[in-house]
Amino acid sequence: MKPLAQLIEAALFAANRPITVEELQTLEPDASLADVRTALEELREHYDFDGHAVEVLELAGGYQILTRRAFAEAIERAQFAVRTPRLTAAAMETLSVIAYRQPVGRAEIEEIRGVSAGGVLRSLQERGLIEVVGRSEAMGRPLLYGTTPLFLELLGLRDLGELPRTDEFTVALQPHKPDTADSDEAAASVPAES
């Protein structure tokens, strides 16, 4: 591996979060951003062609080394690592509203979900998944929330543009059997309206 690729490997390995190209550039001030990108590509190919169990992924606006999905089960079985705990359904719903409506205030979130949102918002904020991004001009100047880079990291997304468009979801409330695991197939087959 070339020296820059080595430097980048060491940095990505040591950092436990996605690192941006700009941050990586500070490792070698003489290198251009293009050099950094080339070295990242070298590292990525190296991992891929040599059959490493880890890969370089683009996540939340940066790059991170993660184990490949194929080894998830083995790692979990051996209990060498703890799987990130799942969010509650309430937290996921709240995140969904914020992800699609950001910047969005608490009142709108509560209106859409039909329940008060204070506790969930606080806990999402504490986990670093959402943050206050401003204040509305509306009465009382309520706080507005948006998602953080950590949110993208949690979902394995490069950026918010990777979220599906809402019209790609089906909202089928036609009568159907309640117990079928419907979401995936239904979404694929039924075209959504507006």
């Binding site: 436990n16 080394i65 859409i112 949690l154 979902l155 394995g156 979801f169 089906t170 409330l173």
Partner: protein, 284 residues
Amino acid sequence: MTSPQPPTTALGAEPAFVVQLDAFNGPLDLLLHLLREEQIDIADIPIARIADQFLQAIQHLGLNQAADYLEMAGRLLRLKAQMLLPRRDGEEGWEDPRHELVRRLLEYQLIKEVAGWLERAADRRADQQPRGYLPPPPELPPPPLTLDLLELLKAVEQVVSQIPSPVLHRVVARPLDTEGATRRLEALLEEREEFTWLEALGPRPTIVDLLSTLLALLELAKRGRILIAQPEAFVSFTIRRRAPEPELVPVPGEPPTVTPEPAGPAATAPMAELPAPGAVEDPA
């Protein structure tokens, strides 16, 4: 009563309707569940039936959730009432009162779909582990905190701009036209020997007119030009020219002759200097 935990079933004919509310993320979620259980087309929700089922489902609510569910219960009951209102067939402007509820249900359903997608994405991501062991970071001085005066000042401005401006009661000085009122009263006195308070005020008096007239009257009485009397309680008092002997209430302390004080302070002073009521009657 034999089966201890009947499965979550919607209300058929059975009264044994058990819904584990903890399983729902709020009233909309519960409502969606009821609609699905009953295989109801969302375009045509039988509000009365669904409202009853909803009420039954939330009967045993814990207090901490109650508010959200009760609000929805209220909405449903109002909808139920609205649906009962008679409407003319083919009426143009009639809007289905269920429309808003349907919109919210669809929106919430969409959010649930999105949440499901996010959850699957998070699950997939959780299949990939970041580096597990992180040695303690080398002892580094904490990076210098970025803080500059400009930022602090911006923050001050931000705070200051958010302090609501105090609601001040604005006092508008509206000068009383005592002199004008005096001239009007004098004109009236030329014409008539006696008139009532209401006549003195004229038609549609403003509060300024009223106060001006009152002050003018008191001033005239003080100067001994008029007599003021109220025949009985709660009636308009009468004003009488004081040419002959006083037979009504005499104004004490003032000679009825020409007074050297043409207009006392009360006649010209703005409202702020309005003398206390006793001051005119009791100059001693």
